[in-house]
């Protein structure tokens, strides 16, 4: 074996010497044989001829010897590649077009695969991430999808679960970070002390929380690497020092390593805003949180599974716990609500919602590559036809068909690898563009990079592409008839049925593929237009919005909170250029606070659901500022005071549901259930519904009930100390931003102003995911259309030019030029229509898969299909029109002389 390996090296690296020695050996053998023959009485030249004859041809013997040598495969491959390079260099036009086409296809695939790799395939950056689960609850009557859990339930799960090695709660909480620089509102996460051990992440500096700190409500904080670097300049002495959160001193006990983030940046939908957390504080549940049952579904709950337990076991255990929790609910709701627990592997919770999108992107980009392959295959086929004579000569000279085929494949693999290399370069650039365009709604996309795994994927893909594009021409070459090709003297009368049919198949498949992509993009465009057309229920133009939250340490009493907001509201209203000002708990785009209510004299059927509505406390000219239309009655006004009759405004869908044939004005309702000891509130107005926003236009509009801030009880005012302001400007709202911020700081210089932006920008941001999908699929479809057009043009013009002779004869026999154009066009039309037919059938099957990305358009939307088929046909005809014109201008004399 060693000997053979040695000789492999010997043969490869000293190939020249080995060949020379073989030459020598054979040469000397010829001489020995010649001498022998001469001794037998032959003349010198006759003896030599006899000698060569006996040897059987020096080159053949050499070839046989080479064939047994080690390393022959490699050598052959190297030779084939060299040949391939040489032959590709000889036709730079073809090579450039082919490589560019493949680079586009492979590059797009590499870029998208790198995204899929980062988003779906990378494991989570925690210890044994596949043993981590997210626990949620589901109240089928109240919320239509799993939601976070109450604090009380976090504690119950931590205590009672028999399958969790450990569990940790977390909650997103914005805090004011003051002292040392501008006041800043940052995202903090309250976390159980167990969170870091569960994730298995060690701090970079200091330590993480202890059980004592969590239970004892100690004021300690762990910083993210980013906050530490930005705000504290990476000062290592920060550990042990105090920082101000909500105007209370917290001691920094640790700093986490770079890039460690847990629930931020769209990582877990519904658990965090799309910015990443800046720091962590211990969970330290309040007494109220510990004891409140069935309310405040705000807490995330993750757990590490004990070794050996399976997911179904965990689900069963969690459901038992949920049932026990349900038994503690107040009697009024205990039997009406059903509480389920939902356990999801953490990775699934993070990426599950984008899996369809990723699959569609991969599929789309795969189709683009297929079209690119078809184009290049056709180029190769045309080239092949030109090289038919070369092939025939080589076959006649004794080259094996297998040998020719191998060289052919080598050529294509070289092409594909070159395309892959160029494509990888393009993918680097694409990744950067994608990272900039990507909405934060796609988790982990920023981690997309061209790593070894992606490179391997690209390499594999290139090789497959190389074989694929060679298949058609190789198939055609298989039929090369040596005698025929040579006799024809290098000119083929007709390219042969076989080539013709193959070429038609290529065009048809190309058109079909392009149609599928175009239909996909078309459906997304229609959805996007539909979404833009949805009336959100308010007018975003000319509105400036921002959030202000009051820390309870500085504003401990409800009266101080109220007077702050009243003053800010009135100051803003006095600013020049401001028309209307109001504030409410939560922006219309992201209202998420729901309350149960019951109308007066309402007798639900036994077992009926609780009535749930969205609820906001509003003040000032909030409805007017956002132009939420008043349908009946009146808006809130200054006469709604704590001492006047409690009033509410309901949205249209509430009015329609509970008072379908009556005037709702003057009717009364109550929060909670009829048994609750709360006052009845009188309906004074009906306003339009708010759509849940472009993020989820397909959800039903929100039934909402608004309460005047002036009548809200003090406990709720203290609880809801974060307000969303809406300022309607007469001109550009952005120009008011600085003045608005100045007014806030004029009242309290330590208050951070967050999300200060125009309402239009907020709406645009919400549209970003759709725009991103549209952009990508649109780009792919555009690319597909372009490639398909080029392909059709290539095929039709190639077939037309091969029929030059025939056209010449036709013209000479008196055919009109128009007839010739028709002849060529008819061929293009026929192929296009067949392709469109196949494409429509394929698209009908495939667009179903993208239903979840669509809005207001069915996956088989006939107008979209029709429009796309029309566009594609038009483009295809245009592409065949050019060669048709050329064929029309053929000069019969030249065409016939061409012989």
């Amino acid at each position: 074996m060693r000997k053979r390996i040695l000789s492999l090296f010997h043969n490869l690296f000293r190939k020249g010497a080995v060949e020379l020695e073989l030459d020598d050996e054979l040469g000397s053998s010829v001489e020995i044989l010649t001498e022998e023959k001469m001794k037998q009485g032959l003349s010198g030249s006759a003896a030599r001829r006899e000698a060569l004859l006996e040897l059987g041809g020096i080159d053949q013997v050499k070839e046989e010897v080479r064939a047994v040598r080690a390393g022959r495969m490699l050598e052959d491959f190297a030779r084939d590649s060299r040949l391939a390079f040489r032959s590709l260099r000889k036709s730079p036009g073809f090579t450039t077009v082919a490589i560019l086409t493949l680079a586009l296809g492979i590059g797009a695939n590499t870029a998208i695969f790198s995204v899929v790799n980062a988003v779906l395939l990378h494991p989570l950056p925690f210890r044994q991430p596949n043993r981590l689960v997210l626990v949620q609850e589901e109240l089928p009557l109240l919320a239509y999808r799993p939601i976070p859990v109450p604090a009380h339930d976090v504690i119950v799960f931590q205590k009672e679960s028999r399958v969790f090695a450990a569990a940790a709660g977390f909650e997103d909480t914005p805090v004011d970070l003051t002292g040392a620089g501008q006041p800043e509102r940052v995202r903090a996460e309250r976390v159980s002390w167990t969170l870091f051990p569960i994730l298995g992440i060690q701090p970079l500096l200091g330590r993480t929380f202890t059980s004592k700190e969590d239970q004892g409500g100690r004021r300690v904080a762990v910083l993210t690497y980013g906050l530490w670097k930005q705000r504290f300049g990476g000062d290592r002495s920060i550990v042990g020092r105090a920082i101000d959160l909500e105007r209370k001193p917290y001691t920094v006990i640790g700093v986490m390593p770079p890039r460690f983030s847990f629930a931020g940046e769209g990582f877990l939908e519904g658990y965090s805003s799309y910015s990443s957390a800046a720091l962590w504080v211990p969970m330290s549940f309040t007494a109220e949180e510990r004891t409140t049952i069935g309310d405040n579904f705000n807490f995330g709950l993750i757990a590490r599974l004990k070794p050996g337990v399976s997911l179904p076991q965990v689900q069963a255990d969690a459901n038992m716990i949920a049932t026990r929790i349900q038994q503690q609910y107040p009697p009024s709701v205990r039997n009406e609500l059903k509480l389920n627990a939902v356990v999801t592997p953490l990775l699934e919770a993070v990426v599950g919602r984008v899996r369809t999108l990723m699959a569609i992107l991969l599929g789309a980009v795969g189709l683009v590559l297929l079209i690119a392959c078809v184009n290049v295959a056709h180029l190769l086929l045309s080239r092949m036809i030109g090289r038919q004579k070369e092939m025939a000569v080589r076959l006649a000279l004794g080259a094996g068909r297998a040998r020719l085929l191998r060289q052919f494949i080598a050529e294509n693999v070289v092409l594909a690898l070159a395309g892959g290399a160029l494509g990888t370069g393009m993918a680097f650039w694409c990744d950067r563009v994608l990272a900039r365009l990507a909405p934060s709604a796609i988790p982990r996309l920023h981690g997309a990079s061209i790593d070894v795994f992606v490179l391997l994927f690209t390499l594999g893909l290139s090789v497959i592409v190389g074989v694929l594009i060679g298949a058609a021409p190789a198939f055609a070459a298989g039929g090369t008839d040596v005698n025929g090709s040579l006799k024809e003297g290098g000119r083929s009368l007709t390219a042969g049925r076989r080539h013709e049919r193959l070429r038609s198949a290529l065009v048809i498949s190309e058109i079909a593929l392009a149609l599928v992509l175009l239909v996909g993009a078309g459906l997304l465009i229609r959805s996007f237009v539909r979404v833009l057309g949805v009336n959100p229920g308010f007018q975003a133009q000319h509105v400036l919005t921002f959030n202000v939250g009051l820390p309870s340490a500085a504003y401990p009493r409800a009266s101080s909170v109220r007077s702050f907001y009243r003053e800010l509201r009135d100051r803003l209203a006095r600013l020049p250029g401001v028309r209307r000002v109001g504030f409410a708990t939560g922006s219309p785009m992201e209202a998420n606070w729901t309350r149960t209510f019951v109308p007066e004299n309402y007798h639900p059927a036994p077992g009926a659901q609780l009535n749930v509505c969205f609820n906001a406390l509003v003040s000032g000219n909030y409805f007017q500022a956002l132009r939420i239309p008043l349908i009946r009655g009146r808006y809130f006004n200054d006469e709604d005071t704590p001492h006047s009759t409690p009033v509410v405004i309901v949205s249209q869908s509430i009015a329609r549901e509970f008072w379908p044939r009556e005037n709702p004005i003057g009717k009364r309702l109550k929060w909670g259930t009829a048994a609750d000891k709360l006052p009845w509130a009188t309906i004074v107005g009906v306003v339009g519904d708010i759509q849940p926003g472009p993020l989820a236009p397909d959800r039903p509009s929100r039934p909402s009930i608004y309460e005047p801030y002036s009548q809200t009880d003090d406990a709720l005012v203290l609880l809801e100390s974060n307000m969303h302001f809406a300022v309607r400007a007469s001109g550009d709202p952005a120009s008011l931003a600085a003045a608005a911020r100045a007014e806030v700081w004029d009242i309290d210089a330590q208050l951070p102003v967050t999300s200060l932006e125009t309402m239009s920008a907020v709406v645009a941001k919400a549209l970003a995911p759709r725009r991103f999908n549209l952009f990508l699929l649109g780009a792919f479809a555009g690319l597909a259309l372009l490639l398909a057009a080029i392909g059709i043009y290539g095929v039709i013009s190639c077939s037309a030019s091969q029929r030059t002779h025939e056209i010449g004869i036709r013209l000479a026999l008196g055919a009109q030029r128009g007839d010739i154009a028709k002849l060529v066009l008819r061929e293009g039309t026929k192929l296009t229509l067949i392709g469109v037919g196949f494409g429509v059938v394929a698209a009908l099957g495939l667009t179903r898969l993208m239903a979840s990305l669509l809005f207001g358009v069915s996956p088989t939307n006939p107008p979209t299909f029709a429009a796309v088929a029309l566009i594609l046909t038009a483009v295809a005809l245009l592409a065949s029109y050019v060669p048709a014109r050329r064929a029309m201008r053929v000069d019969p004399v030249t065409a016939l002389k061409h012989e």
């Binding site: 000997k3 000789s7 000397s28 053998s29 001489e31 020995i32 064939a67 047994v68």
Partner: protein, 110 residues
């Protein structure tokens, strides 16, 4: 095309080459002549089979080659059995004899 015959003879050819080389080193043409001689003219080995076989055996380490002057004072490449080659010859001879006995018995049994 005669490929079948080569296949059948492949094992035999190696044995014949080893046998031809066992008394003394020979060059390619010499080996061919020696084989014709020891098989009493029954086998005429083609050079197209002989040279590949020699190179293969050289890679396996059964024969060694060196350039030296031929009987007529020409430079020629002479092949010589190595000890591994001798061992191989012995093994192949035994195997051949066993095979012949088996085959003979098989053919004679009616």
């Amino acid at each position: 095309m005669g490929e079948k015959r080569t296949d059948l003879l492949r094992g035999t050819l190696d044995l014949l080459v080893l046998k031809a080389l066992s008394p003394e080193p020979l060059h390619g043409v010499g080996i061919s002549r020696r084989i014709t001689q020891i098989t009493k003219g029954a086998f005429q080995v083609s050079f197209g089979s002989l040279f590949p076989s020699l190179h293969r055996m050289e890679e396996k380490g059964w024969v060694e080659a060196e350039w030296r002057a031929s009987e007529n004072n020409r430079r020629a490449k002479y092949y010589r059995l190595t000890s591994a080659g001798r061992a191989q010859l012995k093994a192949e001879e035994q195997q051949w004899n066993r095979m012949v006995k088996i085959m003979a018995a098989a053919v004679e049994s009616t």
